[in-house]
């Protein structure tokens, strides 16, 4: 009974304040889309980093079957060559710069590749023996990359030595800056959303002051009096969050998945399914911001 009553109050409240409700929906929609965009950028960054990025700085790729560089003229790396590279890595001359290193076999390389490119069609056309094995090295001082490069580049069995950071660092800087901009815009929009929700609820409470006055007098509980207003704000904000989630999903599916992934087939993009992990976050955020702003407003404008 009480539930039916509260639901009735909510629908009539939403109908009475339709234009305000629509603006609350739009403002939360836009602000949460920006929050979500920042989230997507971060997801994309970690996708691009792949398995090794945060663990090591330098990769020594060993010659494989398909290697074409000059150092690999004698064919794939032999176990002896591999052993001598490993020995060199452990020799005091090199070890003083090295924190830690890992050997990534072709099978492991294939595993990591599959994870990173899970969303790209390219994954189906690659086999383990096409991917080179490598030593992944974590340096004590990342700036000492040159020393490693000079020591190993011309070793037999080494295809190339790569400083991973140099490749991606600049891109990540740009993406992180874009995230910051998105968060700042989102912050401003969230402030708008909070104020607007507050105003909407204030108007709503004002237009129903006769009802709430009588509810107070006949002894309705605080919950019954306030809940319709709070839910009115929360429902509008959640609708905004759902719209924002749908937008982000569509961007991942149609822009990243259909457009960008075709243009850059060797880049790992996030999948629409990964974007869905942002949905609970956005909905939770919308509930919190609507709930808090409506409770604060009601405390001031709806005496119980």
């Amino acid at each position: 009974m009480r539930l039916a009553f509260i639901l009735g109050e909510i629908t009539s409240g939403l109908r009475r304040n339709l234009s305000m409700v629509v603006s609350v929906i739009l403002v939360t929609f836009v602000s949460l889309t920006f929050v979500g965009a920042a989230g997507m950028l971060q997801l994309q960054i970690s996708q691009l980093k792949g398995y090794w990025y945060d663990k090591v700085q330098v990769a020594i790729f060993l010659c494989g079957q398909g290697s074409t560089s000059a150092g690999c003229a004698s064919g794939p790396v032999t176990p002896d060559q591999q052993k001598s590279i490993k020995a060199l890595l452990e020799s005091p001359a090199v070890a003083q710069y090295v924190n830690d290193y890992h050997f990534e076999s072709q099978t492991e390389a294939y595993q990591h590749f599959k994870e990173q490119f899970a969303n790209s069609p390219i994954v189906d056309s690659v086999t383990p023996d096409q991917l080179p094995a490598s030593f992944r090295i974590n340096l004590k001082d990342p700036e000492k990359y040159q020393i490693i490069s000079e020591t190993f580049s011309s070793r037999p069995g080494v295809e190339t030595v790569i400083d991973q950071r140099q490749l991606l660092e600049r891109l990540f800087t740009v993406m992180n800056q874009a995230s910051v901009v998105a968060i700042v815009v989102a912050g401003v929009m969230i402030v708008c959303a909070i104020l607007l929700i507050g105003t909407t609820i204030r108007l709503s409470a004002f237009s129903r002051r006769r009802e709430t006055g009588i509810m107070r007098l006949v002894g309705a509980s605080k919950l019954v009096i306030q809940l319709p207003f709070v839910l009115e704000g929360v429902i509008s904000a959640v609708v905004g969050a759902v719209l924002a989630s749908a937008t982000l999903w569509a961007v991942a599916k149609f822009f990243l998945g259909d457009v960008l992934a075709k243009q850059y087939p060797d880049t790992a993009f996030i999948s629409p399914a990964q974007v869905l992990i942002l949905v609970p976050l956005l909905i939770g955020l919308s509930v919190v911001l609507a709930g808090v702003s409506s409770l604060v407003t009601l405390r001031r404008y709806l005496k119980v």
Binding site: R2, F5, I214, R216, V218, G219, A220, K222, V224, V304
Partner: protein
């Protein structure tokens, strides 16, 4: 049922207190009129019983409970035991008579079956049988006040507070309303009614509590609107003369503006 213990109510520190250290007890099942000039503190008295405000000093007991001590989530329970009627009826204009009365039950969670059964009964006791489908604007003032009374008593409160319930009604209609309140009182409900209507007070011969500038100047059983005691009562020490006192009374505020 209602007890005031040295209650002082100060709204505005610069003005005189709206109630000045008053003590009074109203027994269960009693019918009491609260009379006195505008601004003498009648509405304030009722607001304190309802805990719309808390007394500045002293204690207000309702059914044995000090209302100032109630935590805010218990206040609704206090108010469920008190029905209230105002001069301006305060009906919801978009709801039918039935829905107006049912509203008081809905918001405290009564189930639909009980509501469908109780509301017509109560409408019958207030003399509005079969008028449940009407809208408030289709009713006379007296009928609207009956709806308001029905709403106030539908949850069977032990106390009914009425703040000038006949203020907007003609004498004949007022008499009808008084009969209704009397009947409700005879069924065991304690009734406290603030009024300016001397004819009504005189015809009922109930207890009369007269307030003046926030103090109780008279408390008589089976009394009339004006005192049967000597018209010029000896002045108390430090009290201004009657004429002076009337001049200092501020112009009526609140109730008058809320009339429809």
């Amino acid at each position: 049922m209602i007890r005031f213990d040295n209650v002082t109510m100060v709204y505005d520190k610069k003005a005189r207190p709206a109630l000045d250290s008053i003590s009074i007890e109203i027994e269960r099942g009693e019918f009491a009129f609260l009379v006195g000039p505008s601004g003498s503190g009648k509405s304030t008295f009722l607001r304190l019983v309802l805990r719309e405000d808390r007394a500045t000093a002293g204690a207000v007991y309702v059914a044995g409970q000090n209302v100032a001590r109630l935590s805010s989530w218990r206040v609704p329970r206090l108010r469920r035991g008190i029905g209230v009627v105002f001069q301006d009826f305060r009906l919801l204009p978009q709801k039918t008579v039935f829905a107006n009365v049912a509203f008081a039950m809905q918001v405290i969670g009564k189930n639909r079956g009980v509501i469908r059964e109780t509301v017509p009964e109560v409408l019958k006791t207030v003399g509005l049988e079969g008028m449940g489908h009407r809208m408030p604007h289709e009713l006379s003032g007296g009928e609207q006040q009956r709806v308001a009374i029905a709403r106030a008593v539908v949850n069977r409160p032990g106390i009914l507070l009425a703040d000038e319930p006949t203020g907007n009604l003609d004498p004949a209609t007022s008499q009808g309303i008084m009969q209704l309140l009397d009947r409700i009182n005879q069924n065991g409900t304690t009734v406290v009614m603030a009024t300016h209507d001397d004819d009504i007070v005189n015809s009922m011969r109930k207890r009369v509590v007269e307030l003046g500038s926030g103090t109780i100047v008279r408390d008589e059983a089976k009394a009339l609107y004006t005192s049967m005691m000597p018209a010029v009562r000896p002045r108390r020490l430090g009290e201004p003369a009657a004429e002076e006192r009337r001049e200092r009374v501020p112009s009526p505020s609140g109730a008058g503006e809320e009339e429809i």
